[in-house]
């Protein structure tokens, strides 16, 4: 892959070596509960981090990873209490410290890098002032704050020019903001640094650079770091050890390489097969069902209800204790027998080349702008019938604008769009009803795309009422049929969106789009708000439906790996221009444009962790 990859590997190696010496952070039997209740949010969490090491804390939303991360600072969000356990930092228990002790510890010995740097930096203070403030809060930690700020900024790969110091946070790019936050965290030379999904909002290229920075800072300072993330690929490339969390417990803990190449716990296995790969068009398999909520966790193993390898004994208390298997800890009754079973490699999707027929949708020389700011420049795009075209680009590339132009949400564009035989008018209101019915759009965020005051039945029936004159019985029949198609039963009919999980909501949104039997489906980042195991389920669902219903589809995403799994052809957008078009294999394997080449190189891959490397027997 990239030319820098070996260097990263070496870096990691170097970081790993002195690690075996000092245990910086030790967490023992951490137990966090809801205040005034016995509902456990986090239980029996224990792990150790050596100096210079990064531990990845991975899990899906609601797994308790952020709660654990905050507990490392001696903090519990309101409504939660740390019931028992120890957080030992160089031997001192943070949980036993009182308020003023904690105040001196936080920032100086333990630092925190939040998810959204834009929200964490004070918008009214200049960058230089904020950095110095962080230092002056802990007197005596460094001698010369000014010099220290320059030093730490350089280490975070920012030039400590006067110009930079005088800027306000909003005058920096997202990547720069996150580096300032990193510099601030490292400035007092802490022993432990907690990173809470610090790269989630960033583009792949920026993400890669920030990750490199984190890695080099940790190894050069001998800092112990805990990196919280839901993105397995990111973690895979960064950390030496990984702890997989599920329903408040660490279910698998060990070296990143062995865990990701030979996962033992069924949940880890499921999670890994759900991650799309940019190298092969894999059949993604998600994990059906949802993680149990705190207070409603079943007796025994929390994963048992969703586990395909479940035994009767799994659902009896107590929860399975951690078993040491091949140098790692696994909470599964069947860990010992499962370790010899090879992890099933995901099936490869047969790639069907697009049929050579005339395109369903043809976008010709389309330029669009918001007010006077141009966003798209002479975009050309053809969507072949009954195939999926992926529209790829980083944020700000104009991919969503293009989608909104196509469906009619954005009308300020020039050029030509031909759908089947007719021209498309700019705005939805100017288009005939029939065209509106045949092009359907699925929104990015299922949390805002469903009216919270309507039942699922009403939501799905709404376009049917509008487009088709159906009797009440016919309409109801169609609603339940299409809900069945997206694997939601009829008991969802009378529920409200807020009673559904993110994945279920997105299925409802898909059902709503499919109810009127469109010809072209435009999916705008439909999985970006979802967990990876849910994403896999949704992608497979879309692939199946596209095939069954012979749909043409435009799939917009920033995730190149997803493109591989779902699309037949790909179009790469960069700053409002199409830079590359071709079949998915062409574009991803032999990118021609330098932008695509860079994009492909920067994609974090599970392979970085050695997941696809030669098998290592334990």
């Amino acid at each position: 892959m990239t030319s820098t990859a070996p260097a990263h590997a070496a870096n990691r190696q170097a970081a790993h070596e002195p690690a075996s010496g000092v245990v910086r952070l030790a967490v023992r039997d951490l137990d966090i509960r809801v205040t005034d209740s016995e509902a456990d949010v986090v239980s029996e969490v224990s792990f150790e981090v050596h100096s210079g090491d990064v531990l990845g804390l991975v899990g899906e939303s609601g797994s308790g990873k952020t709660t654990v991360a905050l507990a490392l600072l001696g903090y519990a969000r309101r409504g939660l209490r740390i019931a028992s356990g120890e957080v030992l930092l160089d031997g001192t228990d943070l949980l036993a410290a009182n308020r003023s002790e904690l105040r001196t510890l936080r920032g100086a010995r333990v630092a925190y890098v939040p998810q959204d740097p834009a929200a964490a930096l004070n918008p009214t203070l200049r960058v230089g002032t904020q950095l110095k403030e962080a230092l002056s809060a802990h007197e005596g930690v460094v001698e010369d704050p000014g010099a220290r700020v320059a030093e730490v900024l350089a280490e975070a790969r920012l030039d400590a020019t006067d110009d930079l110091m005088r800027r306000y946070p909003h005058q920096l790019s997202g990547g720069q903001q996150q580096r300032v936050a990193l510099a601030m965290a490292f400035s007092c030379r802490p022993s432990l640094i907690v990173l809470d999904e610090p790269t989630t909002g960033l583009d792949v290229s920026t993400q890669r650079h920030v990750l490199d920075t984190v890695r080099s800072l940790c190894s050069s300072y001998g800092v112990a770091a805990v990196y919280v993330s839901h993105d397995l690929a990111v973690v895979g490339g960064l950390v030496a050890d990984v702890a997989v969390m599920y329903a408040g417990r660490i279910i698998e803990l060990g070296g990143t390489k062995p865990v990701f190449s030979f996962p033992v716990h069924p949940y880890t296995r499921g999670l890994l097969t759900a991650v799309p790969s940019a190298d092969r068009a894999e059949m993604l398999s998600g994990i059906e069902g949802q993680p149990p909520r705190p207070g409603r966790r079943p007796p025994g193993c929390s994963f048992a209800p969703r586990c395909s390898l479940v035994l009767d004994a799994c659902s009896h208390d107590p929860a399975p204790p951690p078993v040491s298997v091949g140098g790692r800890l696994v909470r599964c009754l069947r860990a010992l027998e499962l370790q010899h079973e090879t992890h099933r490699q995901p099936a490869v999707v047969p790639v069907t080349p697009p049929v050579g027929a005339a395109p369903v949708l043809s976008v010709h020389e389309v330029s669009a702008s918001y007010g006077s700011a141009p966003v798209l420049f002479d975009v050309n795009l053809d969507v072949a019938p009954e195939s999926c075209t992926a529209l790829v680009g980083e944020s700000g590339s104009g991919k969503t604008t293009l989608a909104r132009c196509i469906v009619g949400l954005h009308s300020n564009w020039t050029g030509e769009m031909t759908f089947e035989d007719g021209q498309l008018a700019p705005g939805a209101r100017k288009r005939p009803k029939d065209v509106l019915k045949r092009i359907q759009y699925i929104f990015q965020n299922p949390y805002t795309s469903l009216n919270p005051r309507k039942t699922i039945a009403q939501i799905v029936a709404q376009p049917l009422e509008h487009f088709l004159q159906l009797s009440y019985a016919e309409r109801s029949a169609r609603v339940s049929r299409v809900l069945e198609d997206v694997s939601l039963g009829t008991d969802f009919l009378s529920r409200f969106p807020d009673q559904l999980s993110g994945g279920e909501r997105q299925r409802v949104a898909i059902a709503r789009a499919l109810a009127v039997e469109p010809d072209l489906l435009v999916c705008d980042e439909v999985t970006s708000a979802l967990d990876v195991s849910v994403q896999a389920v949704i992608i497979e669902l879309l692939r199946r439906l596209q095939h069954e219903r012979r749909l043409s589809m435009i799939f917009i995403t920033h995730n190149l790996a997803l493109v591989r799994s779902i699309a037949q052809s790909a179009v790469v957008l960069c700053e409002g221009r199409v830079v590359e078009t071709g079949t998915v294999a062409q574009v991803l394997e032999h990118p021609q444009d330098p932008y695509t080449v860079r994009l492909m190189e920067d994609v974090p891959k599970l392979a970085d962790s050695g997941a696809l490397a030669a098998p290592v027997t334990s």
Binding site: V34, T35, A39, V41, G62, R77, R78, G79, L80, R293, P294, G295, V407, G408, L409, A428, R429, R431, K433, L436, K437, Y441, F443, Q444, N445, T448, S449, L450, N451, P452, R453, K454, T455, A457, Q458, A461, Q462, P463, H466, F467, Y472, A473, S476, A477, V479, S480, R481, E484, T490, L493, S494, F496, D498, Q499, R512
Partner: protein, 314 residues
């Protein structure tokens, strides 16, 4: 399978949707503030509603000397014309209450339509409506109502319309800002993509999401309506004499406040209790609607970790 579905959706939807805003009211009524508010207001409302049927004497009949002090026959004494104060108090509330309710409803409808359409249609409609709102807002509410009434004359329907209309700008502003937020959400866009008419989008997609601000606004405007109505009555714009009402009673009997203060104090106290009551209850509703009384951090957290499904958006 076709047979499975029918009956379910339409049936439950009505029930559930009504329940959603009713539950906010219910929660509000169970808070301390809510109980106090409902208690105060309902005492006054009961007096006004049942009073007319239990008056001991006719309301406009000379029964004793003017300004006689309370006695066993005339529990609250008599007023400046020697009429029984208790009877006039019992009979003098309902007209004002009905008028205040009508004015509130009128103001909510006019202001709501203006505010929601201004926010949803944007552009020229927005500019036009909101500038008109600014102009009307420049007049103090009471002065504006007085202006209309003094031009056309003290007709009861006119007073209702004038007071209601004077509420419209404030309602329009509040609902406009709430609508601005909601009309940017994707579910509204998704309906627009079908080419659904704006009026229908506003009615069936946006309005159901405005119930919380609408309820708070209703309570607030009702309180103001009562105050303005009482004020107009006090100034003589109200049901023509000799019909009793609380506002005019205060004015009529001011001269005798030393000999029979009850003729002034009781109607004034009733008006005060009513407005304090409605205002306190509205406060309780507002707190529940924006989540103050649900301890927001805790609520958000519980939602976060999935212990409780989210209810009202703020």
């Amino acid at each position: 399978m076709a047979a499975v579905a029918p009956a379910v959706p339409a049936r439950t939807k009505r029930l559930r949707r009504r329940r959603q805003w009713l539950s906010t009211l219910g929660t509000a009524a169970r808070t301390g503030r809510g109980k106090l508010g409902i208690g105060l207001a309902s005492v006054v409302v009961l007096i006004a509603a049942i009073g007319p049927f239990v008056t001991p004497y006719p309301t406009s009949q000379f029964v004793a000397l003017d300004y006689s002090a309370p006695s066993s026959h005339f529990l609250l004494g008599t007023d400046y014309l020697g009429y029984d104060v208790l009877s006039r108090v019992l009979d003098g509330g309902w007209i004002m209450l009905v008028m205040a309710l009508c004015a509130t409803a009128f103001g909510l409808i006019v202001g709501g339509v203006a505010g929601i359409s201004a926010a949803y249609l944007r552009g020229k409609a927005d500019a036009l409506i909101m500038r008109a709102v600014d102009v009307i807002l420049a007049f103090p509410q009471l002065v504006f109502a007085l202006l209309l009434v003094s031009i056309i004359g003290p007709k009861l329907w006119l007073i209702v319309l004038a007071v209601g209309f004077s509420h419209a700008p404030a309602v329009a502003r509040v609902l406009r800002s709430a609508t601005l937020d909601i009309s940017e959400r994707d579910f509204v866009k998704s309906v627009e993509l079908q080419g659904v008419k704006p009026a229908r989008v506003m009615w069936s997609e946006i309005l159901p999401n405005l119930m919380s601000p609408l309820m708070v606004e209703a309570g607030l405007r009702l309180t103001y309506s009562i105050v303005v109505m009482a004020g107009l009555n006090f100034l003589g714009f109200g049901p023509p004499p000799p019909a009793p009402n609380w506002g005019i009673m205060i004015w009529e009997n001011l001269d005798g406040r030393t000999t029979n203060p009850w003729a002034v104090v009781v109607p004034a106290a009733l008006i005060a209790l009513l407005t304090i009551g409605t205002n306190t209850f509205t406060d309780a509703v507002a707190r529940v609607a924006i989540g103050v009384d649900r301890r927001p951090e805790v609520a958000a957290l519980l939602e976060d970790i999935g212990l409780r499904p989210s209810t009202e958006p703020a």
